[in-house]
Amino acid sequence: MIKKDKYKLEYLSSLFISIAAALLIGGIIMWLYGKNPLLGYQAMFAGAFNSQYRFATTLAKMVPLVLTGLATAVSFRSGIYNIGGEGQLYLGAFAAAYVGITFTNLPGYLGILLAVVAAAAVGAAYAYIPAVLKVYYQIDEVITTIMLNSVAIFFTGYLVNYPFATSQGKMGGTDMVAEGYQLSRLVRLSDLNSSIFMVALIGIAIYYLLEKTTLGYDFKMVGQNKDFADYGGVNSKKRMITAMLISGGLAGIAGSFEVLGTHFRFLQGISPGYYFDGLLIALIVKNNPIGIIFMSFFFAALKTGSMSMEMATEIPSELVLIIQSVIIFFIAGEAGMKKIIKGFFKKGEQL
């Protein structure tokens, strides 16, 4: 028990060290570029946290990241790799918009519920295709999900340009969802809306599912050794499909919140690759649900903060991308680097 905690602590500390090292390198890049890294980071920090609006913006950016991160975690833990969350998100978002513009007379909470459930159902249904192909036909889900992403994005693009095209505003988008279904904004100006509470609930639910339930245990065992699970009486095929359905559902819900909480309609290109951000986050924290929440917060802060950094110091936004990837490289290589450094010191001792 003590040992486990010690490992956790060690992992956390090395995570922080790698983030710090990455920020250091980012600082060096800024410095080489002739900018004051301290000012840059100060602006970044201020930009992410400094006012109610900014903090709220950071929180708002967390919403899709947490959901897509959890979607990744559920599937990856179960040994079925859902890379198709982006497509599921698009279809889910569209489904929510469809509900929001079609059934406009329901009481608000009911309409929202219906839209979210429809999004989850559609996302799950779309995830069901690669799941079945994987489980019953042994077709690699990585490729099918990537392909189906594009299909969904183009398909929704068609829908909002033709049958569901809005008459307002010359955009590739649907009409606005009924006013009653628009999630209330929490902080003046910012996108932050009540979906964050639902995300908190979903986060707790998924944490509970993965860490404290029989199904979560089954998922983990299937992911670690499918043959072992089957041998132990766990139907690995069903579990994989279940995991994929949950994953697709979560991605769909992420889409619905973009519609109900942020844009109030479905827009072409509604997600700038949220699912891939979420995937990255989940991988970094090794599919740990709590870790996903913290890492999403970090990534969201990086995203909002980098804008202020850009404004305040005129550091180009590309540089921010570079710094971001350096951070990821450091975190990804953390374990290996630690080993090498340890080995280095060990050698030193011997000499």
Partner: protein
């Protein structure tokens, strides 16, 4: 006359938290067959991997023909004429036998292309020279473990090895194959002047073939002695640190009703070939039914079908008077069947998961461990793990470490602990002591017998005829997917007779 070939001097190897080799001094003579024995985790494999350049010793020196040598890599070891056949085969499944043999030292054409024709020829020559028949163009994934063993040896010989290290070469071989292997080893030593070091858990083999034997325990070398001057009992005692009595097991004779019955069972193997052809039998409570057969004759598939892990083609499986022919593995478990699988790493456990998680498998939906089949009761899970670790003497610092960090013998104990803890009336047991040291074998045999005496119906499959004969009440022989004979186990039953029923030559027995 005994000419020193290799000398280990104060060889020490530390892994994080473990001293695998603790200052070992050992000499290997030229032209001898040197057996190394010891409990699981004693450090045998580690020591020889150091010789083969796969591990670097933390301290100590190795002398070869009196010269101190640093063996930095397998490539270097190969150059020095050292070859090793590993405990787990090191063959590329999708490559042909010839390709595997020449891998790393390919004959070439125009210096950059592999000369496949020549590789084939080399294989032909080698197999003719050493009498180890293989088909060069077959893929490794399509051949039996026995053949794979041959390929490994041919590969080492192709490398020009003068010193052959064999790490538990007989663990997966049938008695016949073992015999053949020993013939080969003997000729290698006598006619080709090779030196052989081999690790084994089977003391019969030590007595049978080795010139000298070294016993290891807990990373230390205890003693090296001439085999002539040793006895099995003495070696066993040295190894385990106490007397080991593989004596007659106590058995109550109160057989009961039929628990497990299979009727005209048919099933296919992974390559979709017929593996089980029309097999029928019954197992009663309080009975151990042993299935004796050369590996690859359908016994693995038979057990998998009964356990619900393999589709059955036709036939019936009746468990506790219920027809469960079409049932899933889960249903079969819930209806009172526990199963110790033949390959613990493949499906008996998850290496990444903790020991506690491994011990929970199959029980996660039980009331004791889950509220409403949903909420896992962590405390109960922990407690169960602690109990089983204690009861089955699983050597581990904690139930929360990953199961992959256990030694092979302890992994097996973990699997057995889990399966026996279901209190299932029916036990399917496959190769329960494979790769397990003699102390653990004694323990496992006792546990199986205890279960039998408690009234369980046990179906036992083992490649070890000794094991079958020691434990079973009744023995079925299996050959090419069919039952070829049935025997009551008693003192008159000879190994030889059963052995014949396990092969094509069974006609001669009649």
């Amino acid at each position: 006359m005994a000419e020193e070939l290799i000398r280990f001097e104060k060889i020490r190897k530390e892994f994080p938290g473990v001293v695998a080799n603790n200052d070992i001094d050992l000499t290997i003579n030229k032209g001898e067959i040197h057996a190394i024995v010891g409990e699981n985790g004693a450090g045998k494999t580690t020591l020889l991997k150091i010789l083969y350049g796969m591990h670097q010793p933390t301290a100590g020196k190795i002398y070869i023909e009196g010269q101190e040598e640093k063996i930095a890599s397998p490539a270097q070891a190969i150059k020095m004429g050292i070859g090793m056949v590993h405990q787990h085969f090191m063959l590329i499944p999708s490559f042909t036998i010839a390709e595997n043999i020449v891998l790393g030292y390919e004959p070439r054409q125009k210096s950059i292309f592999t000369d496949f024709k020549k590789a084939e020829k080399i294989t032909e020559q080698l197999q003719a020279e050493y009498g180890l028949a293989v088909d060069p163009l077959q893929k490794v994934e399509d051949v039996s473990v026995g053949i794979q063993q041959r390929i490994e040896i041919l590969k080492v010989l192709y490398h020009g090895a003068e010193i052959l290290i064999l790490d538990e070469p007989t663990a997966v071989l049938t008695p016949q194959e073992t015999e053949e292997l020993f013939e080969v080893i003997k000729t290698l030593v006598k006619e080709k002047n090779k030196t052989v070091i081999f690790i084994t858990h089977k003391l019969n083999e030590v007595m049978n073939i080795s010139d000298r034997v070294t016993v290891m325990r807990d990373g230390k070398k205890l003693q090296t002695m001439a085999t002539e001057s040793a006895t099995k009992e003495k070696i066993a005692e040295l190894m385990v640190g106490r007397e080991v009595l593989l004596s007659e097991l106590e058995r109550d004779s109160k057989q009961g009703q039929v628990r497990l019955e299979v009727q005209q069972l048919k099933a296919r193997d992974n390559r979709n070939l017929k593996a089980v052809k029309d097999i029928s039998f019954q197992v009663h409570s309080g009975e151990i039914l042993g299935i004796a057969g050369v590996e690859g004759n359908g016994q693995s598939e038979l057990v998998e079908v009964i356990a619900g892990l393999r589709e059955l083609e036709s036939g019936k499986i009746i468990i506790n008077d219920q027809d469960l022919s079409e049932s899933s593995s889960g249903e079969i478990r819930r209806n009172g069947v526990a199963h110790i699988p033949e390959d613990r790493l493949k499906n008996g456990m998850s290496k990444e998961a903790t020991i506690a998680e491994n011990l929970l498998m199959g029980k996660q939906y039980q009331k004791d461990f889950a509220a409403n089949k949903v909420h896992l009761k962590q405390q109960a899970v922990k407690k169960e793990a602690a109990n089983l670790i204690e009861e089955f003497d699983i050597r581990t610092p904690s139930a929360e470490v990953s199961a992959g960090s256990l030694s092979g013998g302890n992994m097996q104990k973990m699997v057995i602990a889990r399966e026996f803890s279901f209190d299932s009336p029916i036990l399917l047991i496959s190769q329960p002591t494979r790769g397990v040291d003699i102390g653990a074998i004694e323990f496992i045999h006792n546990e199986i017998m205890k279960k039998r005496n408690e009234g369980c119906a046990v179906l036992l499959v083992s490649a070890e005829l000794d094991e079958i004969m020691r434990l079973s009440d009744r023995i079925l022989t299996i050959y090419e997917g069919q039952i070829t004979g049935e025997f009551e186990n008693n003192k008159d039953l000879s190994k030889k007779e059963i052995g014949l029923y396990m092969t094509e030559k069974r006609g001669e027995a009649n």
